[in-house]
Amino acid sequence: MSDDVLRIRTPIGIKYQYSAGPRVSSHLIGLMEGRFVGKRCPSCHLVYMPPRNGTCAKCGCLLGEDVEVGQRGTITTFCVVNVPFLGQTIKIPYVAATILLDGADMGMQHLIQEVEATEVRMGMRVEPVWRPREEWQPSMENVLYFRPTGEPDAPYESYAGQL
């Protein structure tokens, strides 16, 4: 009885050939070079990083020129994850934050490490920790996490429009 089949493996894999299209390609190629490349809206001039699907959420128009934004950024808002869940790979508590990269007008989500969760705050300045170059792929996963730079906090007014 103890030798009965109680569970089975049913892996499912789907193989795509993904074409990013002209408006997201420069972003992905940038990531493989260790750069954050976004796009500017020709109408409202906001810089999207990442460039979403290549359209401006506000104007609905196609995004225009490439804009390389800074490596450093500011935490605009964050969440402390205290709940364990299946498949979790990071020790809790940890912080998921929205980071406004210097020169970008839209925040992006990433992990914050090398700091106690209780120390993380709005306005904290952070920088990326990249994987070893030989592991780089066209993915934001090239950045393992962001960590504090030690700079003074950004003034509230500098990111208030993001909240």
Partner: protein, 160 residues
Amino acid sequence: MSGGTTEYTIADDGSFTAPLELFYPYKRTVGPLLSRFLTGLREHRIEGTLGSDGRVHVPPAEFDPMTGEPLSEWAEVSSTGTIVTWSWQPSPVEGNTLQHPFAWALIALDGANTNLLHAVDAGSADAIRTGMRVQARWATEPVGSITDIECFELVPESAA
């Protein structure tokens, strides 16, 4: 879930294309009925559940299609059966038990009242037709899976 890519192309217009694989490594419990069915397969035994109307369901139905009641009675069926209908698979994909062209077929096993979907190693589409007799070919290393039946093979007419 995992994903990744290593090979990519950048076209003249700067557009980026890369393979992207989404993979979900699911593992699930099978419950008491499928447990018995799969354990049987591992021992080269095909069993189905017996419905209130006397029909034998293979693979086993967990609930009676007529009354909705849980089923618990079992009946062993033959590993030989008849092709009810089939469709040719000219280019097998990863995960198929056969890696050369084969037929997908609904097979009515002797003693069963429902049909089992499985692969038939028929050689070519010209060699298979509805009504033919087939028998299970067992995998060399059974693990307790429907693929413990590697495929079905045609029973020579003279032997049928």
